[in-house]
Amino acid sequence: MRQLGYVGMLAFCLLGTLPLELVLGVRVYRQWRRLALTLLCVVPVFVVWDLYAVAAGHWEFDPDQTIGVTLPGGLPVEELLFFLVIPTCSVLALEAVRRVRGWPVGDER
């Protein structure tokens, strides 16, 4: 159970924001191509930062609270998932505010 400490937090984020797609109808997952392109532009930048930080000793992860899958460079797989999940949740939040308030985001035509 303790090993799920990190990945459980990510699951909480994904499940907690799912009603924004399913109930509020923000159409983020349905624009999967746009979401994938967005993540492609962001994830590498932050993975490089993360790899540098781990190599420089800025931060480290408790092996007892991660599931034990380690990526090249010493990152727990949860870190890669973090950079997929958190940006996705951020997009869901932005689209939810647009949906509720009707404010422009800048991609309208």
């Binding site: 400490g5 990190y6 937090m9 909480f12 984020c13 907690g16 159409r27 349905r30 624009q31 999967w32 191509r33 746009r34 979401l35 392109l37 967005t38 993540l39 532009c41 962001v42 930048v45 932050f46 930062w49 540098y52 930080a53 420089a56 000793g57 800025h58 931060w59 480290e60 992860f61 408790d62 609270q65 991660t66 950079f83 958190i86 940006p87 949740c89 951020s90 997009v91 939040a93 932005l94 939810a96 505010v97 647009r98 308030r101 404010w103 422009p104 985001v105 800048g106 991609d107 035509r109």
Partner: protein, 128 residues
């Protein structure tokens, strides 16, 4: 370079990306700041979980030592940079995919055109 210095650079890079490179100008929009206000609350919660339970620990020499909900204050800058860069690219790709005639859902032009088939408003010239 310390985490503090990198976090400040990360914020600067995100601001430049949004205002000057992609020109998405999210930082000038209330939709962004409202969404960010919601996101930062959940960041404090989830990051507090990661740091309070020592799932992630920090080198004392790499940070200022100022903490908020267990997490180093640098994490707020890191998170801000991540969110701004993500949302700027999201808007940028939205514009681009709009121009090319689909909305990024993989369905393609036909479905999209059908979705916006509206007669032009009376008195307006047709779009070029």
């Amino acid at each position: 370079m310390s985490y503090t210095a990198l976090a400040v650079l990360g914020v600067i890079a995100a601001v430049v990306l949004d205002l000057a490179v992609l020109r998405t100008r999210l930082l000038t929009r209330r939709v962004f700041w409202t969404a960010y206000a919601i996101i930062v609350v959940f960041q404090l919660l989830t990051n507090g979980w990661l740091t309070g339970r020592d799932i992630v620990t920090y080198d004392a020499d790499a940070i200022t030592g100022v903490r908020l909900a267990y997490a180093p204050v640098e994490d707020l800058l890191f998170g801000f940079s991540l969110v701004v860069q993500t949302l700027a690219w999201w808007v940028w790709w939205g514009r681009r995919l709009n121009q090319s005639g689909h909305d990024g859902n993989g369905v393609g032009r036909a479905a999209h055109e059908a979705g916006r088939a509206q007669p032009p408003a009376a008195g307006l010239p047709p779009a070029p």
